[in-house]
């Protein structure tokens, strides 16, 4: 068993500037194994900037990011990219950004396996079939291209493609954005099941409070690049302290 008392990801004083403007600043948190951390905030509050900094998609101006005892920012690019295709996963908001649209669904799922040295066609295909089943895509769609899939299916395919190597840490950037409500609900249900079963640690960025209410154990609220409030999800949502969080919570439409 892995040590559950040590944080899998530890962030301190993270800052990213775009010239004189602040992308995000003074962000710090610890993420423990099996924990889901939600990041909410309005558009332009630095959520996505923070996520792409953590995943190493863009540089960082100050602060430190430690993954499993290793300094991510000081890591050689080779090592960081190896992490990114084995122990990490990144689910994009738009499935098109995370999928290879010109190759079949099976190849999309198999790509990470092939990138990590699998060279047995039968096994790769079996893994692809297995994963398509887990994300509720019919097996006979395995040779179809993602262009022939609906938005919800593309998003599920992207999730399958990312989880096939059994990652430990998953970054999700608004995974339910752009999907209709019933498809969102199914996707959330699926995600919740996968997170439980695989014991994933997840950082999920969203502006949808319902999503974090369902998925996240802990919540971080961002505004203008800064973290204004963090705590247990239910606690933050039920008893918001900061004025902005109160505004956010009260802005949810009641049906």
């Amino acid at each position: 068993m892995r040590d559950m008392t040590q944080p899998i990801l530890s962030v301190t004083g993270l800052e990213r500037r775009y010239g004189a403007r602040i992308g995000c600043t003074d962000v710090g948190f610890d993420l423990y194994p099996g924990e889901v951390l939600g990041i909410v905030g309005e558009s332009g509050s630095g959520k996505s900037t923070l996520l792409s900094c953590l995943a190493g998609h863009q540089g960082v101006d100050a602060g430190s990011v430690t993954y499993d005892g290793r300094d991510v920012l000081a890591m050689a690019e080779t090592e960081r990219r190896r992490l990114a295709r084995t122990e990490w996963a990144y689910v994009h908001q738009h499935a098109r950004d995370g999928l290879r649209m010109s190759v079949s669904a099976g190849a999309n799922v198999g790509e990470r396996l092939m990138a990590t040295g699998h060279r047995h066609y039968g096994e790769i295909r079996a893994a692809a079939v297995d994963w398509l089943g887990r994300v509720e895509i019919a097996e006979d769609r395995i040779d179809d291209r993602p262009t022939a899939f609906s938005g919800g299916m593309q998003q599920r395919l992207q999730i399958a493609r990312n989880l096939v190597t059994g990652p430990r840490l998953v970054f999700m950037d608004e995974p339910t954005g752009g999907l209709d409500v019933s498809v969102q609900a199914r996707l959330l249900d699926l995600l919740r099941g996968l997170v439980r079963d695989m014991g994933l640690s997840v950082i999920i960025v969203t502006h949808d409070l319902a999503v974090v209410r369902l998925l996240a154990d802990r919540l971080m609220v961002m505004k203008s690049g800064r973290v204004v409030e963090q705590g247990l999800t239910d606690q933050v949502l039920d008893d918001p302290q900061h004025a902005y969080t109160q505004l956010l919570v009260s802005s949810v439409l009641q049906v």
């Binding site: 690019e77 198999g110 092939m114 990138a115 047995h120 066609y121 295909r125 395995i142 040779d143």
Partner: protein
């Protein structure tokens, strides 16, 4: 004689190309950028290969030019004439006599020997191009040896056609390091790339890249464990010379479904016919 400098290019250009060649030989399979010149022929006609040939030629050389294996097709004839005129070197169609062979899409059947140089014309030097259109990204992938994508292509082949359907331009790995595009030679020729005593140079004029295989370099064709590489050819013997192990062209002879298979390497075929070998459709007088 002509008013051109020997072999058309000026000496400084040849020097620049030779430096790129040396670098390419030092890092087998690595694509070296070079300042490709405009040549008096259109892109796609071998401008890269011609520049390599020009940079390597010396007056003592005997040049052979082939196009799809044949010495007498348009591309081969025009390039051969070009160097006859601008360099005045001897030309030959005999593979064993040639010291420098420029080729488009074939490797001669006759085994090459030490001291020979084989120059390939390459349209698209980047093997990852069709799956990853970004040049910055493919360079990064070569740098970090991230070649999973190459197998995605082969996976797609098997998923769609039940086998690896790539029959030319078949990707190879050089000395366990760089994945290389062998130019559009049939995959039948891929095994000849490996461990060859000759120097093999690849030139892409439009894409401005040179890469190379020094003699006796290990070249492995990529495959899956359960779908191994198969250097296939048409399941026939040559109808002119009876050769059973050479790469064949299919020639339609009438509109009744008549066809014949002949060696694509014309020099190999004529040599064999000269030695008295006869195929199914050979005229005895020939």
């Amino acid at each position: 004689m002509s008013d051109y400098n020997f072999a058309y290019l000026d000496e400084q250009t040849k020097r620049m190309i030779r430096r790129a060649i040396l670098k390419a030989l030092a890092i087998p399979g690595y694509q070296v950028p070079f300042a490709s010149r405009e040549m008096p022929m259109p892109y796609g006609w071998g401008t890269g290969g011609v520049q390599l040939t020009a940079a390597c030629l010396v007056p003592e050389d005997r040049l052979k030019v082939i196009d799809q294996g044949a010495d007498d097709t348009t591309n081969a004839v025009s390039i051969r004439k070009f160097f006859q005129r601008t360099a005045g070197v001897d030309v030959t169609t005999d593979t064993t006599e040639a010291t420098l062979i420029q080729t488009r899409h074939r490797i001669p059947e006759t085994p090459l020997t030490q001291g020979q140089i084989l120059v390939y014309q390459v349209p698209i030097p980047e093997p990852l191009r069709f799956l990853e259109p970004r040049e910055t990204e493919t360079r990064k992938m070569h740098e970090l040896e991230e070649y999973g994508l190459m197998h995605v292509k082969l996976y797609e082949d098997i998923a769609r056609h039940g086998q690896i359907a790539t029959s030319y331009d078949y990707p190879v790995k050089v000395e366990g390091r760089y994945v290389m595009d062998p130019s559009p030679i049939p995959k039948f020729d891929n095994p000849k790339l490996s461990d060859s005593p000759a120097i093999q140079l690849f030139g892409a004029g439009r894409e401005q890249r040179i890469y190379a295989l020094p003699p006796y370099t290990q070249v492995v064709s990529l495959d899956f464990e359960d779908h191994p590489f198969d250097p296939s050819k048409a399941d026939h013997d040559c109808d002119l010379c009876g050769a059973s192990a050479s790469y064949l062209d299919e020639v339609i002879t009438d509109d009744q479904g008549g066809r014949m298979f002949v060696c694509s390497d014309t020099d190999y075929c004529t040599t064999r016919t000269g030695m008295g070998h006869r195929g199914r459709l050979a005229e005895d007088a020939a």
